[in-house]
Symmetry: C2
Subunit: 568 residues, 2 copies
Amino acid sequence: MEPTTPPLRIALAQVDTCVGDVAGNAATVLEWTRRAADAGARLVAFPEMTLTGYPIEDLALRASFRRAAYRAGDDLARTLADEGLGDMTVVVGTVGARPIKERPMAALGSPSRPTNRAIALRGGRVVASYDKHHLPNYGVFDEFRVFTPGDSTCVLDVDGRRVGLVICEDIWQDGGPVAALAAEDLDALLVVNASPFEEGKGHQRTELAARRASEVGAPLLYVNQVGGQDDLVFDGGSFVVAPGSGAPLTSAPQFVPDLLVWDLPARGEALPRGTVAPPLEADEEVYRACVAGLAGYVRKNGFRSVVLGLSGGIDSALTAAIAADAIGGENVVGVSMPSAYSSGHSKDDAADLAERLGADYRVQPIAPMVDAFQGELHLDGVAEENLQARVRGVLLMAISNREGHLVIAPGNKSELATGYATIYDAGSIGGYAPIKDVDKSQVWRLARWRNNHALDAGEIPPIPESSITKPPSAELRPGQLDQDSLPPYDVLDEVLDAYIEHAEGRAELLARGFDPEVVDKVVTLVDRAEWKRRQYPLGTKVTALAFGRDRRLPITSRWREPQEGNPS
Amino acid sequence: MEPTTPPLRIALAQVDTCVGDVAGNAATVLEWTRRAADAGARLVAFPEMTLTGYPIEDLALRASFRRAAYRAGDDLARTLADEGLGDMTVVVGTVGARPIKERPMAALGSPSRPTNRAIALRGGRVVASYDKHHLPNYGVFDEFRVFTPGDSTCVLDVDGRRVGLVICEDIWQDGGPVAALAAEDLDALLVVNASPFEEGKGHQRTELAARRASEVGAPLLYVNQVGGQDDLVFDGGSFVVAPGSGAPLTSAPQFVPDLLVWDLPARGEALPRGTVAPPLEADEEVYRACVAGLAGYVRKNGFRSVVLGLSGGIDSALTAAIAADAIGGENVVGVSMPSAYSSGHSKDDAADLAERLGADYRVQPIAPMVDAFQGELHLDGVAEENLQARVRGVLLMAISNREGHLVIAPGNKSELATGYATIYDAGSIGGYAPIKDVDKSQVWRLARWRNNHALDAGEIPPIPESSITKPPSAELRPGQLDQDSLPPYDVLDEVLDAYIEHAEGRAELLARGFDPEVVDKVVTLVDRAEWKRRQYPLGTKVTALAFGRDRRLPITSRWREPQEGNPS
């Protein structure tokens, strides 16, 4: 009778890295490898580009940074061995050097590019490496710009088991390294990822992974980065799937660091199941993404507190609630900046919100400053409205300068897309805009979800009910309401999604059954907003982000969606 | 005796297109084709992506835009024939459709991408097409992101002559379509381009082109776009070279539209020479690039006038002079916004400048507004300095809102790179920053060049001498001088160029012989400036541009250039 092969215990370390913090990221690997060893694992895998952070963009082109990352991999291998972890196999992501064909005129913009590499550390040294083949260069990804593709496959031997290794986009493309690994008689396929959150992406990941598992005839282990980095949010949700239909055998929760441990059995034995994190409902998932994004931005940039204007409206209320969940209400400074047109309920709602959140609340009327400008300029109409809004922006910047808080901007996606906002106002200045990817309809849904979540937990709902129920207004002139200038938000947001996110034209929008008048109104608003941004692109982002999807548009473009009967 | 082959007259139409203005660009092609026909040409070639404009970025992913461009090519062929130009061969750039392999999960970001195409029109229809092989995706280029590469070659038959056709980057890469065309027995190689201006790039273009001409054994005709588009400047300078060393046989001037006509002789006959545009000296070339960039931005966005703050200092003086050259002094509004710390000579210099330029000059003291803010906020130190600067920003925005001028920002590259500027001040707000790619040393050189150029022409120098000679100061506190906070500008600018533009690390900077103390100071300033921008990335551009070269950096990065002895 043959001796039974014991199972191979594998740990997926779903960690939060920081771009550029090579030493800090290496320390994270050491800490979590120790945890994995304590849990009895023999192999521990970390996300894509662990040591460098992800995405590093053009930092990849800086030689001193690349050298630091190369050295960090070698140093980490030795440190792990010195710390008694030398018999673990540790898979970490980094950059790699590879001879590449340079273009003839190197001075003109094609500096040396590294590979996007995963290395396996064991016994004090790097024992294997794999360079990513497929370099995504769409949406938020710029990898073809900064990396050189690999062309080899990699199979790790861990205690006699054959573990194939690929990186993120490699499984999203047919053919390539996964197809090559199908002939490699694998025991498991390990995929290391930095896969940004998008609404509804979870199912796509597991279904695709199960398909790739079928291709190689072995279970697939998927480890993902977690946490906010710049304008991306990584949601974690690491998992293991069997070949077949896609329901995970075990999975880690989203939006928190986690160590997911799974035992790879001997060949022919049944694949074990573990804990499966219950899927989040849509609104909770987006709310948590917003919290993770802001928390990461604040912490990774060395801030401890934020300041924002509180108008009493739903956008600033939701943003403040997200901030309180991200860094604690006591680290949120909310400033009410009433004007002559601010209603009494606005000021009450702002104060009520701040009290519910435990925020530092201040009131700073803007009349003295507005009067001083008007004494000189005598503005009227939109110029006068914008002046009020910009005085608020200057006030927040001054408080930030004096006290060191990060200014956050509560502009939502619907108003940014339609240009229904003042440039350099309190809604658009600052370092981070937590709900810029959330349309107005979803702003209300997230606010309701957050309040209901509090009620379910027996807590006080953070957002005053009247901020949710009252009709939205910029309060920059008497009786002003958003709905005087915009289509109803539910319709507006559907058209915006089709026109901006799916790049549909007028013909496609009409074919979906939208009212032609509404379509032309929305298209005109968006095109005008782009024109408006051209006056001040130094002060606004010209991309519209949607949780991991963005666009790069020319600043100056005369392209207008055709508005007439022509079915272009 | 064989009949003599007559020469083939070819015209290179160095035109200024506008991104998205498909109808306007088609009209430009019609107009210049008529000129080429009047000049006796049989073949006229236009720059890369003539009909769509360049760069179109993610507009390429919008189906309705692509359809409009496809239709415009067919329509243009018919219009040319209808207008009696059907026997001309007209080469124009556009986008092309091509079956492509989609990734399996199309929803996740890989929409249909067109090709970067050149089409030949004759006899009322499209008679040939070529899809660009090499898609640059570095520096300012994003072509791999938005296009699909071609894989065929194209040889046009024009009156029995074999003319190879390739696009821009195709000649910057070894191998590829040029190598394939070497076997095609060409009479000429036509290269259509949208090649952005970089300092000193002209020689590289002609030398490379001569090398490619040698490869195919035929003269090379290079037609380039001209004019400002977004943050790029296209300098034209179209030319013809023989196989060999690179001196052009004929060339068009830089920065102006031009029709360059050249006769391709019968095989074996000597290649004729034509007018060669004299090369511009370095400072003139950069000055004209700044003028072209601003002029294009203003015109293509539908503005007629600009407004900027005039401090009496060199940056705003040079910017105003550039603006006057771009759109006429009478379309420039200069606003002096003195504070308690503004010196008398500053106000005099600003007034003097405005008079020399024929600009609309206004004085708006900031004391009433600063006093109103200070009555509420009681700021001191840097927060007080920034407040003064931001009040100026709000004033310019208000004037812009009221009167419709484009706000332009006179920030220079040295101060933007080192963070020696207030965010949202009069130097950084607005729609276009004409000298953001010009370092301070070059600011002075350009000012002197412009004044000398005026003297040579018997005109009044536009920039007051004292704005050039006085020591630079932000005048935000008494006696403040730039040199109290920064290394001398000549040294600073050399280190900035190496550290930012060439991505050199500390080791490389020291190896060049820079003083270690200065290196550490500059590196710290730049890294801190990047941190500062992270507080307000919604309000500043985080890329540093250098005439066609830019960087994409992570917003949040903890990477710091190592400062100690470690030769990383």
